[in-house]
């Protein structure tokens, strides 16, 4: 059977690539510390020696659109081109080509359907910065095959928060029952409090530092019950109008498991939003 060797939850900040590669006057004052933190975070994945990456993210109206919007979608393709014109334009993100792990995609789809998740699929998926940001931060050599899983945190009506947790639990069960001698890491990215296109955007820090503090506590302590008791589709409007991306963190808490303390926790308070990085090593593996 496959082994789940690392569970990683992270914010995805599309400005990291530009900040970390800029030099001289263009280099923002927060870049060096940010790079230091990201490289330390990267080491937590490297140490787990994964063969395959299951990548959880959310399309930002790139390929998925309101005429045909899936709630949860699994990519099943031999390759995935990545990043879009408007991400090059706004963030300077490079175009990438990632390899796919089709056997695991097929397994997740078949077994996921049988486990009660009516998953959509795509055989030609161009992935966006919700998945390429963690490739850039955590695996810049881009040498591992992936299974992309997209969630709808963006276009209401959205699935309930508990559904994200349940999907996370199911993803873990599926990986651990996959009959293959492979080491699998799951990497999911979302947001803490975030406002985009609203009056609270681009402030000196995230729009709701109090929510961020609470969220980091829920995630790092694996407090799924406490989190589910407070977080609803309605409540997530209060910390910022793009905070529903926090539900991808809840999905990753589901992968990690109730009460599972993260083995690695780091945060970085930036303008606009707080960065947060978490790693769990199931079964103690690379701890």
């Amino acid at each position: 059977m496959a082994e789940l060797v690392a569970v990683i939850a992270s914010t995805h900040h599309p400005f990291y690539h530009r900040a970390s590669t800029s030099t001289g006057e263009d280099r923002p004052p927060f870049a060096d510390e940010w790079v230091r933190k990201v490289e330390a975070f990267r080491e937590t994945l490297t140490r787990a020696r994964p063969d395959v990456l299951v990548m959880v993210g959310s399309d930002h109206f790139h390929q998925l659109w309101l005429d045909n919007m899936p709630q949860f979608l699994v990519g099943k393709a031999p390759f995935y081109d990545a990043n879009f014109y408007n991400e090059e334009r706004e963030f300077g993100l490079p175009r990438l080509l990632l390899k796919g792990q089709e056997n695991l995609s097929a397994y997740v789809l078949r077994e996921g359907l049988d486990a009660g998740f009516d998953l959509a699929f795509s055989n030609e998926l161009r992935i966006d910065h919700s998945i390429t940001c963690p490739i850039i931060t955590l695996r810049p050599q881009n040498d591992l095959p992936i299974v992309p899983i997209y969630t709808n945190i963006f276009a209401p009506p959205l699935p309930q928060p508990k559904r994200f947790v349940q999907l996370g639990r199911t993803i873990r069960q599926l990986i651990e029952s996959w009959p293959a001698d492979e080491r699998v890491a799951v990497i999911g990215t979302g947001h803490l409090s975030l406002e985009l296109g609203g009056p609270r955007q681009f402030g000196p820090h995230g729009p709701d530092p109090q929510f961020d503090q609470k969220a980091v506590e829920w995630i790092s302590s694996g407090d799924i019950e406490g989190c589910l008791a407070e977080v609803t589709l309605d409540s997530l409007h209060a910390p910022g109008n793009a905070t529903h991306g926090f539900m991808d963190f809840m999905l990753m808490m589901g992968v990690a498991g109730e009460g599972q303390k993260a083995d690695y926790v780091d945060t970085y308070d930036l303008f606009h939003t707080m960065e947060a990085y978490f790693t769990w090593y199931p079964n103690g593996g690379a701890r």
């Binding site: 659109w65 309101l66 408007n86 009056p199 955007q201 409007h237």
Partner: protein, 120 residues
Amino acid sequence: MSTYLLNKFLFTVDRDPELVERYREDPTGTVAWWETEQANRILNCHDGESSTWLRFDDRERAALAGHDYPALFELGAHPFLTLTLFIAMFERDYDEPLGFQKEYAQRLSHFSLPYPDIAT
């Protein structure tokens, strides 16, 4: 009222570099052309199988033609789509980093929770 159609305009213009420039330079003309020629195109179907019923109401048309992003916010256009496209059009006109984004926030500062519904 068609929040969906507002979003469809923002989405299809944002992904096309030529249309981004055309909308920046000639908003009224671009909106009129788009409503006539593009609004009913189903994006994943060929032109012979377009829809027949989509059109803007007057407020929506005026908000788009006026580059009026506070009005688009009020009408429930998806804030991510509006922000992304308007950054592409207008960030270049500001000297300070994030100058446009901060002004954008300022111009929306009269909104408080709950924000206009963005469900489509």
